[in-house]
């Protein structure tokens, strides 16, 4: 899943280790998210968004276009 994780982290000057410690995951998990080797659970996505104090859509764009139910 594409994300703005690396950009948001760079804007704040955080290392992968610092972000990992802030949200309680491994540095490998942050690296996997940034390199699209892991799709986060909803819980992890919200924890990351909370760490950056932004809505979750600003970190992870919804890959599924909205469809109207008929």
């Amino acid at each position: 899943m594409k994300s703005r994780l690396r950009v948001l982290r760079a804007e704040r000057g955080w290392t992968q280790e610092q972000l990992a410690a802030a949200i309680g995951v491994s540095r490998q998990a942050i690296n996997a998210l940034e390199t699209e080797r892991h799709d986060p659970s909803l819980d992890l996505a919200y924890r990351i968004a909370a760490a950056f104090a932004v809505p979750v859509e600003q970190v992870f764009a919804n890959p599924h276009p909205a469809e109207k139910m008929t």
Partner: protein, 131 residues
């Protein structure tokens, strides 16, 4: 900041102890059956201790993985499945070859170290948690 990320030190120490017990039990069983002619009760006790070391190693691995984050759990599950698939495939091939093609007999317990060897082999290849 969360600085309490689970350490794997207890796992490493526990694993070394389990492998030490496993290897010592193999040695004792070989010595007890050939040189020392140990009684059946003693041989069974050693065999059960060996099996307990195998179970203990898996319990320790399960506990370690349960403390990890979702990414580590995901890739570990994939690695374990790949390693189990490789090991069981090889064991089945060897088993039928042994039974029907006359290849030399191999001890079944060798599956255990083979499995962990396979885990080591697939670990650098599986780094993506996605299907």
């Amino acid at each position: 900041m969360n600085v309490g990320w689970p350490s794997s030190r207890p796992y490493v120490v526990g694993s070394l102890a389990m492998w030490g017990l496993f290897l010592a039990a193999i040695y004792l069983l070989a010595w007890g059956s050939e040189d020392a002619q140990l009684p059946d009760a003693a041989m069974w006790s050693i065999a059960i201790a060996l099996a307990a070391s195998v179970a203990g190693q898996f319990v320790a691995a399960y506990r370690l993985v349960a403390r990890q984050d979702e990414y580590i759990r995901g890739i570990t599950a994939k690695r374990i499945i790949a390693a189990a698939g490789l090991t069981i495939t090889l064991a089945v091939l060897w088993g039928v070859a042994e039974q029907f093609l006359g290849v030399p007999r191999a001890p079944v317990w060798i599956i255990y170290p083979l499995f962990w060897g396979a885990v080591g082999m697939v670990t650098p290849l599986i780094r993506d948690s996605r299907p």
